[in-house]
């Protein structure tokens, strides 16, 4: 029976080839029908159900973030199937969603553990595609995983709606036709944060970077460096720290004597929690004076879970975020309510991005009227929408990056409840963080791939 699914029968290849040939020759509308009738793309749902694959970290340091993403996915699936309160189904504009599943098929899902490792994530995604016949993969909590799964999905011909990934590479040099990112990136963080840093801390500052020694860390460092140096700041030193170092004291000790008056922590997850806590609670940096100025610490990328892990240390620290449940717009409130009532806690920004990605995918399928990926991709590319909590948003066709407002946040000094960890300092408008897609290079690749149905 498993042999039935054999992906390489000669007949199929011939049929695919023929269909492709026809596709080039006949008018657009006709092609779409030809495709949707022929089942000739990867995991075309044939029964009454459509399967989505949610690939999140369930073990390892990001397991809690993964659990939150999974909650969001489940909520999105409920809403798509017309269960629950509908959530952002009502607020998305323009919307083709009907609340009866996707193209009338009931949405079901499978889950897997990325372990925050490229290999494990790809293996898990492959299982979803090969064994569970998932038509779309989403989720993840690191850029390495996102890039790895994205390129797999390109090869397999399955759309990948990235979860939390912040590296420029995901929609830069490693971008793929089948990969889409709603989350913002390091470059946008720099563009959003720079001016605020200038306003808050002045134009004459000396910055010391501690950077996690891997690709995301480097792009983060570079983006912030560019943004702050444009303000007139100097970069005293940029030190690379091993991923998962845990104890950062040997990297923190030289900071205060280096002449720098700002420390920028290009860390994420456990690294960020530890380096920030150690800098604040042990080296007491926030209360020091250097060059006649108050010493400051900046964490360019924030998340709720990290803020929780860092505890009091996060108070007064500036950073950026993709979204926050306290944002003052209707969609954010709807989502916070819907999620909060279901799970007893507000959605994290990782949860929001995963929820939105699922809805956007479903909407694109409805708009295209087919699950055939090239058509769905077309529907997503250049899609301009609102009502997902981030204000007017564009899925840019050139690099599959979403452009939307970006938040500058600060760790809250006097939280009124256990979820009230960050306050929004500024909503940086979309124009300010938009950039030319060519600066990061990369190539999207073809939309019509043989994929797993070849």
């Amino acid at each position: 029976m498993a042999i039935d699914t054999t992906a390489w029968s000669r007949r199929r290849i011939l049929k695919t080839g023929a269909a492709l040939g026809t596709g080039l020759a006949v008018p657009h509308v006709f092609v779409r029908n030809a495709w949707s009738q022929n089942n000739q793309f990867c995991n075309n749902p044939t029964g009454g159900n459509v399967v989505l694959g949610f690939n999140v970290p369930q073990s390892g340091p990001y397991a809690d973030e993964g659990a939150d993403e999974l909650r969001a996915f489940k909520l999105a699936v409920q809403h798509l199937n017309g269960e629950g309160d509908g959530g952002l189904m009502k607020t998305l504009k323009p919307s083709s969603l009907k609340g009866n599943g996707v193209l009338g098929k009931k949405v079901t899902f499978v889950t897997g553990d990325t372990q925050t490792k490229s290999d494990a994530a790809r293996a898990s995604a492959k299982r979803m595609i090969e064994a569970d016949k998932a038509i779309m993969i989403s989720g993840g909590s690191s850029s390495g995983v996102a890039v790895a799964v994205q390129s797999l999905c390109q090869d397999m011909g399955v759309i990948f709606m990235a979860g939390l990934t912040h590296s420029n590479d995901t929609t830069g040099k490693d971008k793929r036709r089948y990969g889409f990112r709603h989350f913002f990136n390091a470059y946008m963080s720099g563009q959003a944060l720079g001016p605020v840093l200038g306003e808050e801390y002045g134009k004459d500052r000396k910055a010391y970077h501690l950077t996690a020694d891997y690709t995301w860390g480097w792009t983060q460092e570079e983006s912030i460096k560019n943004a702050t140096e444009a303000l007139g700041w100097q970069t005293v030193q940029a030190v690379r720290t091993p991923l998962g170092a845990g104890d950062f004291s040997q990297y923190l000790t030289p900071v205060l004597n280096s002449g720098a008056d700002v420390l920028i922590l290009n860390h994420y997850g456990g690294d960020m929690v530890n380096s920030l806590r150690q800098a604040v609670t042990q080296f007491d940096m926030k209360s020091k004076q250097v060059n006649g100025k108050d010493f400051q610490i900046v964490v360019p990328l924030f998340s709720e879970l990290m803020a929780q892990g860092a505890g009091d240390a996060v108070k007064g620290i500036l950073g950026t975020a993709n979204w926050d449940w306290k944002l003052d717009n209707e969609a954010s409130k709807v989502l916070a309510k819907s999620f909060g009532e279901a799970y007893g806690s507000p959605p994290s920004q990782a949860a929001q991005t995963c929820y939105v990605q699922t809805l956007l995918y479903a909407n694109a399928v409805e708009t295209a009227g087919t699950f055939y990926p090239p058509e769905v991709i077309k529907a997503l590319e250049g899609f301009e929408f609102d009502g997902m909590g981030n204000g007017p948003t564009l899925y840019r066709a050139e690099d599959h990056q979403c452009f939307k407002d970006c938040l500058v946040v600060r760790g809250k000094e006097n939280p009124t409840n256990q979820f009230d960890l960050m306050e929004i300092v500024k909503v940086v408008p979309r124009d300010q963080v938009t950039y030319d897609p060519s600066i990061f290079g990369g190539e999207l690749g073809p939309a019509d791939v043989k994929g797993c149905a070849a």
Partner: protein
């Protein structure tokens, strides 16, 4: 060498059937097979090959009948088989074998990028790189024994991993992993007019993804198994077992043990290189995670779980661990409800409630428990369980006294 190659074909040993050594030879997989006939070897290989090649059929009911996981079974089977040649046969516990796996992967992807998408070229290079890397590390590490040896290998592997993740990013592409891109030169392909199709490794035109990828890996696993069997039954294999049993005596018996150990180390490094290369062939992306100590630990655990020093054990151990990692982690409550569908609602909810901590995000709990249970109740690993069942079955049927055949090498 020449003498042995000849005899292996002719099997003159068969002619000595009347010799007393033949008639009382204990049998069973636990036995190193030193005295088993070569005919039973061929039978074993044939059964093994049949079992591996039909995995898509007989593993489908438990949810493992799809290409990726079967590829992983085969590839990590090769990795564990090779590791067992060192650890199981000679008793030297390397805690850094993942370095060779990773090196093999990087080597293969670089071949894809520079020379050709042909899998054979990449695999050949991966084996060579795995072997050379093992030669260097083994030469240094084998100056020590016991736990000192283990820590030396661990240290080399961790250095490789840490550097691959950070400083060596130009070669390894760091966290993201080395990928094949359309713009890579691929000199040989360009020379022979083979247009870079879509960056998928191939074997003379057949793309090695999905099922072809599995059958390709499976054939290599069977070859690797056959080679391991030959090594185990060879003079060289006997020397390794002897070193494990009593290295002191080996020295006073006139053997220079270190070259034997180094040879075993390099051979197992080449197996690891092959496995790493195959990982890249079936999925052309090589990440540094493959070199981390957890990956080295994984192959140690696979081997012990299956049965140290046995032939089949490592392959089974590898499959069990990959199955848990892939399938158990994918069970969520929805799947559980479907699994227990046949029960009445209340009981169904109860079963879901008590099983859910062990699956999905709790899959590692099951893994940990499995390690403990196996080692507590089956000291020789899973193969020990197989042997016990087999001997019970035999005694139940024939009434022959089940003299405990020594589990070869599993001491």
């Amino acid at each position: 060498m020449s003498q042995s190659v000849m005899t292996s074909q002719e099997n003159p040993g068969e002619g000595m059937g009347e010799s007393p050594a033949e008639s009382h030879a204990p049998r069973g997989d636990g036995m190193r097979g030193f005295l088993a006939s070569s005919r039973s070897d061929w039978l074993l290989v044939a059964v093994f090959a049949a079992a591996i090649l039909t995995m898509p059929i007989w593993l489908a009911p438990i949810g493992a009948g799809y290409p990726d996981i079967l590829q992983k079974f085969a590839i990590f089977g090769i990795f564990a088989l090779g590791f067992n040649i060192l650890f199981g046969f000679s008793g030297y516990l390397s805690f850094g074998h993942a370095a060779f796996l990773g090196a093999g992967s990087y080597a293969a992807v670089w071949m894809f990028k520079l020379l050709s998408m042909n899998a054979l070229i990449a695999l050949a290079f991966a084996i060579v790189v795995g072997g050379v890397f093992a030669l260097l590390i083994g030469f240094v590490s084998l100056r020590r024994s016991g736990i000192y040896f283990s820590i030396l290998t661990l240290a080399f592997a961790q250095m490789s991993y840490n550097l691959a993740y950070s400083v060596l990013t130009p070669i390894t592409n760091g966290e993201t992993g080395l990928q094949v891109t359309i713009s890579d030169p691929r000199v040989l392909d360009a020379m022979f007019g083979g247009v870079a199709r879509r960056g998928v490794p191939e074997l003379f035109g057949m793309e090695l993804q999905g099922w072809p990828g599995f059958y390709f890996s499976a054939v290599l696993l069977i070859l690797a198994f056959f080679l391991t069997l030959r090594i185990r039954n060879s003079t060289f294999g006997l020397m390794l077992f002897a070193i494990k049993s009593n290295q002191n005596r080996m020295n006073y018996t006139g053997f220079a043990t270190r070259p034997y150990l180094l040879a075993a180390f390099v051979i197992s490094g080449m197996y690891a290189g092959l496995a790493g290369g195959l990982l890249a062939v079936t999925d052309p992306l090589a990440g540094a995670d493959r070199m981390q100590w957890t990956a080295s630990g994984e192959v140690v655990l696979m081997t012990i779980l299956g049965g140290v020093g046995t032939l089949l054990g490592p392959v089974i151990g590898a499959a069990v661990m990959k199955y848990l990692e892939q399938i158990f982690s994918s069970f969520n409550e929805g799947v559980l409800h479907r699994t227990f569908d046949f029960l009445p609602t209340g009981l169904q909810d109860f079963m879901v409630a008590i099983t859910s901590p062990f699956v999905g995000e709790g899959w590692q709990l099951t893994l940990g428990l499995l390690f403990m249970i196996v080692v507590i109740f089956l000291p020789g690993g899973i193969m020990e369980g197989v042997r016990r069942i087999a001997s019970r079955f035999r005694s139940g049927r024939g009434g022959a006294s089940p003299t405990p055949a020594p589990a070869g090498g599993g001491h």
